[in-house]
């Protein structure tokens, strides 16, 4: 059940929202989609779901195109949350799940499980407009996964949630992954992707600028971060060979270096100059990679 995008392009007039995107999302994996607003994430999802046809290219799931006959196997949490404000949670979920091919009885049973799980069983008889935004989002999530889809597409699932709810939702997402589902999710929170995904893709202006497994991406990036906390001035370190950038921190400096050997050099240079409280060589964060590749910061 591989989800495959081959040279997918989507144009609106002259503007290319997605430009020549090729991806392969393996089965039973969690795939992260990163990108600023307008990078083409939502458009890509809409094409995967068949809501829009690509201008060029192919999208297949397990070798077949995705259309309405496969919709019971797909779960979708749109970026813009949307439920009927005047409808009770139960009626709402029953309606939406039946459209995904579920029987009413089964929906009610599953709904009970999910509401129990999110510790909100009393919401079944409430109208959606009476719930807080965070709780509406939980209901929305339930609507996306209640029919036990094999492919789950979550557009910004954690945005707008408090940390407790983020943890609850993360746990649920990981559980769905453990159960053998393929999950594609987008976020503009790098740490969420870093934490949860094996494979990822960073989009910018419709094209993937980084694509592959998290480990490979980090390894091939080459650069590492060196964090030094010391009591003496360190700013001159940026002049050294192999140091690509430097950022002053309250307790010292953070350097970006081209490899481990540079760290050795740096250590030699500062050794004996004063007391060093911290000398730490770190893997680059996704944020660093993104800034480097896209030439712009995210948030």
């Amino acid at each position: 059940m591989v989800l495959k995008l081959e040279h997918v392009t989507k144009k609106f007039g002259d503007f290319a929202a997605v430009d020549n995107l090729s991806l392969e999302i393996p089965e039973k994996e969690m795939f992260g989609f990163l990108g600023a607003n307008g990078a083409g994430k939502t458009t890509t999802f809409r094409m995967i779901l068949g809501l829009m046809d690509p201008t060029a290219g192919n999208i297949t799931w397990n070798g077949k195109p995705i259309n309405y006959s496969t919709s019971p196997l797909i779960g979708y949490l749109p970026e813009e949350r949307g439920l009927y404000p005047k409808l009770k949670v139960r009626d709402q979920i029953v309606y939406l799940a039946r459209l995904r091919g579920m029987q009413k009885k089964a929906v009610l049973k599953e709904l009970e499980y999910w509401l129990e799980r999110f510790k909100v069983p009393e919401y079944a008889d409430k109208k959606v407009e009476e719930l807080s935004k965070g709780n509406q989002q939980k209901i929305q999530f339930v609507a996306a996964v209640i029919h036990k889809p094999k492919l789950i597409i979550l557009d910004e699932p954690f945005s707008g949630l408090d940390p407790v709810n983020v943890e609850q939702l993360k746990e649920a997402v990981l559980e769905l992954k453990e159960a053998g589902n393929t999950i594609v999710f987008s976020s503009h929170r790098m740490e969420h992707v870093e934490e949860m995904c094996e494979h990822l893709c960073i989009m910018q202006k419709g094209s993937p600028i980084v694509h592959g497994s998290l480990k490979d991406i980090k390894r091939s990036f080459g650069k590492k971060n060196l964090v030094i906390h010391a009591d003496f001035d360190l700013s001159w370190l940026k002049e050294l060979n192999g140091v690509t950038s430097a950022k002053k921190t309250p307790e010292g400096i953070q350097l970006q270096i081209t490899g481990e050997s540079v760290a050795e050099e740096v250590l030699k240079e500062i050794f004996g100059k004063g007391f060093i409280r911290k000398f730490d060589l770190e893997e680059p964060s996704l944020n660093d990679i993104f800034i480097e590749k896209a030439g712009a910061s995210y948030e």
Binding site: F12, G13, R46, L49, G50, L51, M52, D53, P54, T55, Y68, S71, I74, Y76, P78, E80, R81, G82, L83, Y84, P85, L87, D91, Y95, L96, R98, L99, R100, A143, A144
Partner: protein, 415 residues
Amino acid sequence: MNNFFIILFHTYLSKLKTKQFIITTIITAALMVGLAYLPKLIESFDKDNTERIAVIDETGQLFEPFKKQIATVNTDVKVVRYTGNNEEADKKVKDGKFDGVLELNLTSENLPAASYRAMSIANTSVPGDIEASLQQMKTMMASQQLKLTQEQLGKLYEPVKLDKKALEKDAKTEEELNQARGLVYVLLFVIYFAVIMYANMIAMEVATEKSSRVMEILISSVSPIKQMFAKILGIGLLSLTQLAVILLAGYFSIKQNLKTMEGGFFESFGFGNIPVGTIVYAVIFFILGYFLYATLAAFLGSLVSRIEDVQQMITPMTLLIVAGFMMAMFGLGQPESTFIKVTSFIPFFAPMLMFLRVGMLNLPLWEAALSIGIMLATIIALAIFGARVYRGGVLMYGKSNSYKDIKKALQMTKQ
């Protein structure tokens, strides 16, 4: 169950259960019942309505014949011989003892003349009756003076005989035409209101789903086209339910009251015996008109992002319906004019204008069939085009709400 029917019944049932729907239906049905009982109601208010008129007859010979005459015209008018002078009589009117004062005189030619004074002469029926009675008396007196025999008099007043006969077979007589006009008039109103109301409801429904963003989930499970038609049919079913309740309430209360209103308002409006054909055509044209405008409303509704903008978007459509209705009102008086004939084949006006023509005239079947065919073709064309706009429109969010968006919406889904 098929997704199509899930949406259809969800739309139908969830709307059916709303307070708004139940209340509007009850109020309208109550209005229909009220209307049927209206003549009775007016009658009961009018019970104690005898007009007392003081008659000052200076000649002494006019009062008796006048009293006899007026009794045949209007039994509610009670005349009393009054012997006082004018001022006294006027005062009694002001005090409310009498409703009016009538002074009878003879002219120099020995014919009756009179003057009538009352607090207000807004009510024309009493002066009118008095005038008619006096006219009758004058005729009699004048003919006596001329020494005309009863026979001569009869000849003089015999109405001329105009035999109207339509050459077309089955053409409606003048009386039938008037009756048809009443029924068509009422049904035109029903079509007009229903089409406006339910087309509005469709546009609102689509815009609500879009603005609440539930649309994106819906269209990821069911194709927009299926969804659009399920919605149109669901609301259509709702409209038929509502109309059935209202019309049945109206029908039964009118039927109950029919005896008391023989020759009255309802009979002259053609409710005495309702031609089945007209009703069948009304239903057909209502359904066609509904589908035509509902399809239009659905795709217009899909273009707006906020509910507030719906009205603005569908105003041109509403104006089209209003224009059709205005033409129909004009057509009621001249159903045979070329203008009405031509416009009854234009699909946006046809639901009202062709109905008007089949209701009032005896049209060859092909004319109605052609108009229905044109409408069906337009509905299909609109549905195909509308579905494409709808598919892109529901994914579009932005602040602009113009017809340029139609182009943008088509682009969204273009390959």
